[in-house]
Amino acid sequence: MAYNVSRVIPVLTVKNRELVKTLKFGNPKYIGDPINAIKVFNDKECDELMVLDIGASVNGKSPDFVHLKEMAGEAFMPIGYGGGIHSFETARQVFQCGIEKVVLNSVLLENPGIVDEIAAHYGNQSVVISLDYKKEFFGGLKPVFFSGKKSKKIHIAAFAKEMEDRGAGEIILHSVDREGTFSGYDLELLQEVVHATTIPVVPLGGAGGNADLDKALESAGAHAVAAASLFVFKNNDRNSILINYSTTK
């Protein structure tokens, strides 16, 4: 009798312990203290949160465990954390901070076996893949890593399936091109990846309002939806900061 309402997951992008928001993975704008944002989401009774340290892997840094413990201690809901997780040992330390799920991206380029390792020990649902992707210069899409700076020549749906086969519990389909634009989710790719896998696929990047969340859940087969800019800006205006949250129902 599991509770099966579609999840709406706020995503907080953090850098140097500050909450920031990028646009197409660039131009990080200072938003505020992530602890304050977490408190707002506590009050709004959000079921699950995702925190991504975007300054970790790209700068060769490990997770900031002290800050992670602080954020986990403040949250009254489970948290998925990603950023700088490159080994099973690092993942173990992240779980010990009170984090429920680890989100992996950069490590997948050289060491995708980490997915099998973590899933075997902690369970499938504790491993989430952030499948970041962008348009290629001559058309087509490719998965990217290290804050979009490196890429791999592989079909996105095939990559998603590979991750599922290794034991990932969930795929976040993260569009670099739509990130921060409020222009809507990439529903076409979402449907393709949903059909290619059997684990939950969650779009991230481009949500501009409840209508986008509904479309992804009701017509494109998303099992849950995630959004970042939507929940930190007011009226989709990057100059108007307001931590907010609402589910579609």
């Binding site: 959000c46 413990k69 009170g98 369970g123």
Partner: protein, 205 residues
């Protein structure tokens, strides 16, 4: 003062923060001596049952908790902490604290639809009248669960809540002044807050 035992495993900070939010006062104690003045004890826990019992014995916590239980000081076990209240667990094949007769068993499913651990939000149903978990049919109580082993009480009278995951299991237990919840109230926002508020009110904390 409510004392949350820090024996090396568990979300002690989240629990303290939620108790404070619920209007209570709690401190995290890694020193068994500090427990002697405790008005209530919370036993958290995330991880392996065998390892937890090892740490509890090694840290000198068993004797003081036994004493507090004799004094009828309320004890609340959360997640692994609840499992430790029982007699024995298949995880590690080790004896627990033995305050509530029962066994802790591993989830085993032939159907791959049931993933292990049981992880996510799930509903609980009160099994007996009580002040801790609302029994109002209008809103189902749900909490966040993460566990691969489940509790099976020997006595139906000790079962506080039931949840179904493949099969029914005991998601909360209660006997005299001892309560245990398999779920994480500290990760279950308003449902957890209501639970802690009720707990504080029930025991006058």
């Amino acid at each position: 003062m409510i004392n949350i035992i820090d024996y090396g495993m568990g979300n002690t900070v989240s629990i303290r923060n939620m108790i404070v939010k619920a209007g209570g006062k709690a401190q995290i104690s890694g020193d068994p001596e500090k427990l002697s003045l405790a008005k209530a004890i919370i036993l958290p826990g995330v991880g392996n049952f065998g390892k937890a019992m090892e740490l509890i014995h090694a840290g000198g916590f068993k004797a003081i908790i036994d004493e507090k239980v004799k004094e009828k000081v309320p004890v609340l076990g959360i997640c692994l902490g609840m499992q430790l209240l029982l007699d024995h667990s298949e995880e590690g094949d080790v004896s627990g604290l033995g305050y509530i007769p029962g066994e802790v068993k591993k989830f085993i499913f032939a159907d791959r639809q049931y993933k292990i651990p049981h992880m996510g939000w799930d509903e609980v149903e009160a099994a007996k009248a009580n002040d801790l978990i609302p029994q109002d049919a209008a809103e189902k109580q749900r909490f966040y669960f993460v566990h691969s082993y489940f509790a099976q009480c020997e006595n139906e009278s000790d079962v506080l809540c039931k949840t179904v995951y493949g099969h029914e299991f005991h998601s909360a237990v209660h006997r005299d002044h001892i309560t245990g919840v398999q779920f994480h109230p500290e990760k279950s926002h308003r449902f957890g807050l209501t639970f802690f508020r009720n707990y504080l009110k029930h025991y006058g904390l």
